[in-house]
Amino acid sequence: MVSNEDKSDRKSAQDIINQLSVILRTAQIHDPNNIAVTTAIDRFLLLINPMIEAERSTTLELVGEFFYIDGSRIRYSLEYLLNFDFLVREFKNREIGSVIFKDKITPDDIKVFLKAFILAGFSDSPYEKISEVMEESNRIVIDRLKKVKEGDEVDVRKIIKKTYYNAVSYSKGVMTKIKSGEKVSIKKAKRIVETMVDQILEEEQLLLSMTAIKDYDEYTYHHSVNVSILSVALGQRLGLSKKVLTELGLAALFHDIGKIEVPYELLNKPTNFNDDEWKLIRKHPVWGVRAILKLRGFDNSTMRSSIVAFEHHMNYDFTGYPRVRKHSELDFFSRIVSIADQYDAMTSARVYSRIPMSPDKALSLMMERSGTQLDPLLLKFFINMVGVFPIGSLVMLDTKELGLVYESDVVFMDRPRVLIIIDRNGNRVKGPVVTLTEKDEKGNYLRSILKILDPNKYKINLAEYLL
């Protein structure tokens, strides 16, 4: 439970990060003594000094893609999204992991920090430069950005994997149970989605990487879970609250539930559908509404899920199905889920299309559909989320290494983390995972992506590498 006091503290913490970002942005344009900069500094001091006074010191830390103040993660708010992203990028550029503010900070302390910060931006060894300049101030201390420990990551990956398979297993169970007329537990669905929401908030990239592993034999169940994860991840980028994300995750998990009514043989038909078969397939949104409403009584979450089940193929411009007599704007969730649905469907192997599209091709095609089939604004956020090189992309590096994109970088979208699968000598390997933002002493990137290849063309089993 969040008390009013806590809410106010969180807001103050967001304000501090935002204001620091404002100072740094302003200082990049103006002289430190310019009134725009000094006013921004004064406002920052008004925010930070009371906090320091209460706790003796205040630590601003960057962990992964998130800021923490005194150990508490500060959630992104839509209002400050751009400034937060700016600060993450600038901290990473300078390899700053944390800034500790002690005692009462003065405008001069901040000016020293600004000087250090700006000079470091031009240095080949930014962190060293900033450390050197910061020696002038004993009230602001900086620390280097920590690398993620491999061991920690393995454990987290295990937990994420467990969550993912629990969800797939649940999704399979639901469909089987509905078919056999058994009772389905929605409580379980909620729990599963809640866990996914928590993990999206903490380890977005790891859970997203699970969606890149496609299981041809269990497509239907994996698809439901993948769409749920992709939708929640997009929802998180849009700044939705945890509770709303759960609602979105549930709606996405059940979006295709109407397919249980489609005969198995038809769903698995390897050839093209004839008109009658299409007619039947196109009924699944209507069947989905009924299936969801039968599962449980009316409540906000059920209603939302039913709406999404009905609308997810209608298209932004209503050219899809089912056709309706009167158009009313598609539900916000429906527009999110239809993006996630298209992306996952395109990048998965299907009975009638054994070779799936590569993630980048799918995104290109989706961009062509922007404003017609898909909501252009939400698609923009989605593309920003999955990145230039989505997880599972096969990439050739300028170091003559071949790798799979393992994790996107929220700030440097063209510099993801890559799992090397063939080393520079042409030997097959499994690892290491390299971070493309790493630089040598001269400030040059150690590795860059040269080319992107289609992993499906070479029948690369992503599960072998990503699981």
């Binding site: 439970m1 839509l78 994997k161 040269l450 080319k451 599960a463 072998e464």
Partner: protein, 549 residues
């Protein structure tokens, strides 16, 4: 020693949780026991946190431990706190220093819920998760989410997926082609701008619109797309649910929307008759006890319902709604709610007078009186046969109302009953009856009143009653009445002079009401009478005749 002390305090806290669970289930928030339990429990936590940073409980099937020491054990199936937590997968519960009393209260509220009996869609873990406590943390075992036969799903699925090892040759081919293949560019990222964020904000604001309205629209789309009777059968219950849900939420306008759309379907000549049957059932459903009961609750709770919407909804109902409305009329607590229901019954009661009249058998006098009022307002003469049965009702207020109603409805059949009422033991009934005759205004009525006033016993009645009779009589502005009144006004007696003066005063009053100018000389004479009543009413009559007052 310190550890033993810690364990003792841990036990105390656990007992406080057990007590809190029970108390919060039994008492409302404003009850002193509720408040004391919360404060005492919080004090125990506060004392504990004086020397410890956190209070961690390990949960097993039948036991709860603190610091590896079992502090709770129960093998009961019910009232077992360990099992209560354990069954939803909760394995560890931590209360951190800094715990707020509000947090503890919310925690107690969650654990006090009767998950077996109450219709709760969430389990304890979900409820804790939704609260997002800052100082209460928990560890759960997600294994409870997996069905027993799917326990090793992850292992199997992973093994199967990994079996399909990537072909080394293909991999090497990819590597080789990586040098040759033309550049394939990644998707170009268009950065998010301030304008995008503003647009998104607007979209999210719009998103709070009512879902049930949209779902109802979807259900009607499904209805229109239905191809068979079974399609209707399947969708029909959800439309019912939509009505119920909307009414529960106080969204009467959505119920009205559903009713309007239902009528459109019924009126659509292209719709199969078989399917219209379901739509008619839906209209009937809106008038059931269940739905009208919810509406009554809204009215009693003071929920604002737009007048047009309310009227529209009532108009859309069928006659089956009459009985539930009558039922709730007797149960409503507020005047505003009763007024609304009465107005509703005036509207739909016309559809079935007999059903409405059944309310006259209600044991509660005020319900009967309200029904009579409604029947009177409807003004359908078919109501008379039912109303006549209540003329002898045990409650005077009911009798007065029914007499008035009979008067307004009129007709031969009411005369006898009203006539009998003129001789009732209760003066109020007698006055009501004479007024009713006045409303009827027929020659028969006039004759009955004249006959009653002329009766030698009439003068014995009290002055106020007599005055009412004369007042009614003066509604007939004809010669017969004028002559009669003039005769009474002039009449002198030796015996019973006081009562006679009362009659003469009433006659003067009546002539005044009639505005009979020819009576002025005699009235002027009597305005100086020694009798107070005659003097006063002659004066009043003169003023009325001269000034039309």
């Amino acid at each position: 020693m310190e550890q033993i002390e810690g364990i003792k305090e841990a036990r105390d806290i656990l007992q406080a949780i057990v007590k809190g669970k029970k108390t919060f289930r039994m008492y409302p928030q404003n009850n002193p026991i509720y408040v004391k339990t919360l404060e005492d429990s919080y004090a125990k936590f506060r004392d504990f946190f004086d020397y410890k940073e956190k209070f961690v409980l390990q949960i097993k099937h039948n036991s709860i431990s603190y610091d590896s020491e079992q502090i709770y054990y129960s093998d009961e199936k019910e009232d077992n706190l360990a099992l209560f937590f354990f069954k939803d997968g909760l394995r560890e519960l931590t209360f951190k220093k800094g715990l707020l009393q509000e947090e503890l209260e919310e925690f107690f509220k969650i654990v006090a819920m009767d998950f077996d009996r109450e219709v709760v869609d969430d389990d304890i873990v979900t409820l804790l998760w939704e609260k997002d406590f800052q100082n209460i943390q928990y560890v759960v075992d997600e294994a409870v989410l997996v069905d027993l036969d799917e326990e090793d799903y992850e292992t199997k699925a992973e093994e199967e997926l990994k079996e399909k090892v990537s072909d080394v040759d293909e991999l090497m081919k990819a590597y080789a082609e990586g040098f040759k293949e033309e550049d394939v560019k990644g998707t170009s990222i268009v950065p998010i701008t301030e304008k995008d964020l503003k647009m998104l904000e607007r979209e999210m604001e719009k998103d709070s619109s009512n879902r049930i309205e949209k779902l109802a629209d979807i259900l009607f789309e499904i209805i229109y797309q239905s191809e068979s009777k079974s399609d209707f059968e399947d969708t029909f219950p959800f439309l019912k649910d939509s009505i119920k849900f909307s009414m529960k939420q106080g969204n009467v306008y959505i119920v009205l929307d559903i009713m309007t759309k239902t009528k459109e379907v019924i009126d659509d000549p292209l719709f199969p008759e078989d399917s219209k049957k379901y739509m008619r059932k839906l209209i009937l459903y809106a008038g059931t006890d269940e739905i009208i009961g919810l509406l009554a609750g809204l009215l009693d709770g003071g929920v604002e319902i737009e007048e047009k919407v309310f009227e529209g909804f009532i108009e859309s109902l069928d006659k089956n709604a009459i009985t539930p409305f009558v039922k709730f009329l007797g149960e409503l607590k507020t005047i505003h709610a009763r007024k609304s229901v009465i107005e509703s019954l005036i509207f739909i009661g016309k559809k079935d007078i007999q059903a409405l009249a059944r309310g006259l058998d209600d044991q509660r006098w005020f319900v009967v009186r309200n029904i009579i009022y409604i029947l009177r307002k409807i003004g359908d003469k078919r109501a008379i046969e039912y109303l006549l049965k209540t003329v002898k009702h045990g409650d005077i207020r009911v009798r007065k109302e029914v007499i008035r109603a009979l008067g307004e409805l009129g007709g031969r059949e009411v005369i006898q009953s009203l006539r009998e009422c003129l001789d009732d033991l209760d003066v109020q009934v007698r006055i009501a009856a004479v007024k009713a005759f006045g409303i009827i205004g027929s020659e028969v009525s006039k004759k009955i009143i004249l006959e009653k006033i002329s009766d030698k016993m009439f003068k014995e009645r009290n002055f106020e009653e007599k005055k009412e009779f004369y007042e009614v009589l003066s509604k007939w502005k004809d010669e017969e009445i004028i002559n009669f009144l003039m005769k009474v006004l002039k009449k002198k007696t030796f015996f019973g002079r006081a009562k006679n003066y009362e009659n003469r005063a009433c006659a003067a009053f009546g002539l005044g009401l009639l505005g009979y100018k020819e009576a002025l000389p005699i009235l002027n004479k009597y305005k100086n009478s020694n009798n107070k009543n005659l003097r006063e009413y002659s004066y009043i009559a003169i003023k009325r005749i001269e000034h039309g007052q």
